[in-house]
Amino acid sequence: MGKGPAAFRSAMAVSTRTVALALVTAGAVVAGTWATVQYVNRPARGPAGASAVAAKQPEAARRIKATLYYVAADGLRLAAAERDVLFAEGASEQARRIMEAMLEPAPDGLASAIPAGTALRGVFVGERGDAYVDFSAGLRTNHPGGSSSEILTVYAIVSAVTANLPAITSVQILIEGHEVDTLAGHVDLRRPLPNAPQWAQKGTT
């Protein structure tokens, strides 16, 4: 029933294949992703149908506008904020860029939902629209605990990936490459979680 380590390994293997395929063919997953990402500087080599191609720029300069999630001022809900995030080819690479941006300091007036001292180890995308976001042990050991804090951490991560990459519908958080029961004793992390918009305030900051 639940995804054991074996299931996870197969998901990883599958995801590698998916990315490879996507890079060559600009396959459905990636096209779906791209079509909904808002480009700041449109890529020269965009998916079919992307018109008004901007002047070709170095890969590193390309950025997308992504919706990131932080702890709202009330400390009880997430606040969405638009930020420029490095563009990347493929859903898993783009998800990684988004997660890296989430680890940067929060905008003024908001707090990061991810504890300091957390590093991103990797992002993998399975074939059923599920993503696996792997963090260092700091995500758990530095977590302050409490249901509300834990919910905000988990759903900041889930929301940021699913809101910006519609091909991804659910996210499972891993610690040091392993499945975990919970981060801080409350939220069930044994399966990929779909986004749950009720944890976010309406509108973006």
Partner: protein, 529 residues
């Protein structure tokens, strides 16, 4: 006029029922009636005209939103609300409603500029017009408007003792809590009001029994009072009897099997009298020998309290150093003690010391003991140090997907072979889906917990929420997780240090269990078949 001719015809056969004209007699004051409605309790003046009790129509009409108009030509009062109208004859005790004639104890009587009507006019003529369920209880001088629960409560102290015994009859049956305060017990009913009948109590350990507020009886106790036990005895489907047994300080407590945790006694066994006590009277002995059934109906017998975290897994920590794991264990023990002594319910803790307990083991304890309720206790934390208030959670199926929803709608029933041949259907419940089919009951219990907490402690702006909580997933019974306050808030941490605040949380949870019990009692078993 058509009405008058109609009334004239009917009145021939109803002469006996119609009262004599009452105008000539001057009204004498009578004890007022209490009117209980969703808006509260108020009084309506009553008078005696001759031997007939009459009520002030000008006070009743606004409560039922009725318009009253006198039709002098027809010698009638027209009472209406919207398109509904009743015509009350001023000559005879007759009313016409929608073409039907009905007899009343007395016609309306004028008293100066006001009209007086008989109590049965209220229930038989005015209530149908107003479309409000109206219960006129003449013996209690009470009128209940609307769908309110106002049980009649009578108190009788049994002669003799010790132990001192009070029998409180409740009709119709209502849930209640018994709260001990210094020198008194409060019996608080889950009702909209009380119809307090005769109280015959005093002596022994009881100084007096009085109604303190609309839903509470106060039993004032002698200073020698020590402990009490309470149990309900179902009288019939409509009524129940609460028996409270009071023991003096230092006296041996009555054997547990006679009250509260009533296990069926051994056949023929007489309940032992407390040692060193004088022999009970014959009546008390009869009562004591009869086993009093458990205070709990079949719905709620076992409750599992889950103090969150433990051991190396400390949970969250307050700025002042308070650890969530210690706090919740303290509160869990207090709640166990209250449920155990006052309801006689079996209470189990998932941990009674400071150790790590895996989530599945917590659910196992509840499932293997066939618990009827699972209450997980936690304290909260937020990055905003100002965040405060209690929150109640029940499970959301996020992440469990289609399997859980299917399980909720249609548990997997399969035939299994049984010893001696044949087969029987059993429900196969996937461990991780167990909670899915209890969600609506969990939600109902969460609402009761929230309502009770709200009466006593500050609530968060999000007082009831659903989340995919690990510890709730496998609980095969209604289950909630309570975040009692934010430890990350220094002021709340200070509150959590006080016995007073912890006891408020405990009392809230206790009252919620009692109310849930009442709900289950009224609706049949809490578990799906």
């Amino acid at each position: 006029m058509r009405l008058r001719s109609l009334l004239a015809v009917v009145s021939i056969s109803l002469v006996a029922a119609s009262a004599a004209r009452l105008e000539a007699q001057s009204p004498r004051a009578a004890a007022p009636y209490s009117v209980v409605s969703a808006d509260g309790r108020r009084t309506v003046a009553a008078v005696l005209v001759g031997e007939q009790e009459m009520l002030r129509l000008d006070e009743l009409a606004p409560l039922l939103q009725l318009t009253v108009r006198e039709d002098r030509a027809a010698k009638a009062l027209t009472v209406s609300r919207g398109t509904n109208a009743a015509v009350l004859s001023l000559d005879q005790g007759l009313a016409s409603i929608g073409g039907k004639i009905l007899a009343l104890a007395a016609p309306p009587v004028r008293d100066g500029s006001r009209w007086l009507v008989s109590p049965d006019t209220v229930s038989r003529a005015l209530a149908p017009i107003a479309g409000v369920r109206t219960d006129v209880r003449r013996a209690s001088r009470l009128i209940v408007l609307g769908d309110l629960r106002v049980p009649r409560v009578t108190v009788q102290q049994e002669p003799g003792g010790p132990p001192t015994r009070l029998a409180i009859d409740i009709v119709p049956r209502a849930a209640f809590t018994v709260v001990q305060e210094p020198r008194r017990l409060l019996v608080r009913f889950d009702a909209d009001g009380l119809d307090v009948g005769s109280i015959s109590a005093g002596g022994g350990l009881v100084e007096s029994v009085t109604a303190a507020d609309p839903v509470t009886l106060v039993i004032a106790l002698d200073k020698t009072f020590g402990t009490f036990r309470a149990a309900t005895v179902p009288v019939d489907s409509a009524s129940s009897r609460l028996v409270i047994e009071l023991t003096a300080a230092g006296a041996a407590a009555p054997p547990p099997s006679t009250l509260a945790r009533a296990a069926p006694p051994a056949p023929g066994a007489a309940a032992p009298a407390p040692p060193a006590a004088p022999p009970p009277t014959a009546m008390a002995r009869t009562e004591a020998a009869a086993p009093i059934p458990s205070a709990l109906p079949p719905g709620v017998r076992t409750i599992v309290i889950d103090p969150g975290h433990g051991g190396d897994e400390q949970g969250t920590q307050g700025a002042g150093g308070m650890l969530e794991k210690d706090l919740v264990l303290d509160v869990a023990r207090r709640l166990r003690s209250m449920l155990d002594t006052r309801l006689g319910v079996r209470v189990l803790l998932t941990r009674d010391d400071d150790r790590v307990v895996p989530h599945d083991e917590r659910a196992s304890i509840a499932n293997n003991n066939k618990a009827d309720l699972f209450i997980s206790l936690h304290a909260n934390s937020s990055p905003n140090k100002e965040a405060k208030g209690a929150e109640v959670f029940y499970l959301s199926l996020d992440g469990l997907g289609a399997e859980a929803r299917k399980m909720m709608e249609n548990p997997d029933t399969r035939p299994v072979p049984v010893l001696g041949g044949g087969s029987r259907d059993i429900d196969l419940i996937l461990w991780d889906m167990a909670q899915a089919r209890h969600l609506s009951e969990s939600a109902a219990f969460a609402m009761l917990v929230e309502e009770e907490l709200r009466r006593r402690v500050e609530m968060s702006p999000n007082p009831i929420q659903q989340a995919p909580f690990r510890v709730l997933v496998a609980a095969n019974m209604p289950a909630v997780l309570v975040e009692m306050a934010f430890l990350s808030n220094a002021a709340q941490e200070a509150q959590l240090k006080s016995d007073e605040f912890k006891n408020r949380v405990v009392q809230s949870l206790f009252d919620a269990v009692v109310r849930y019990r009442g709900r289950v009692d009224g609706q049949g078993p809490s578990r799906l078949p």
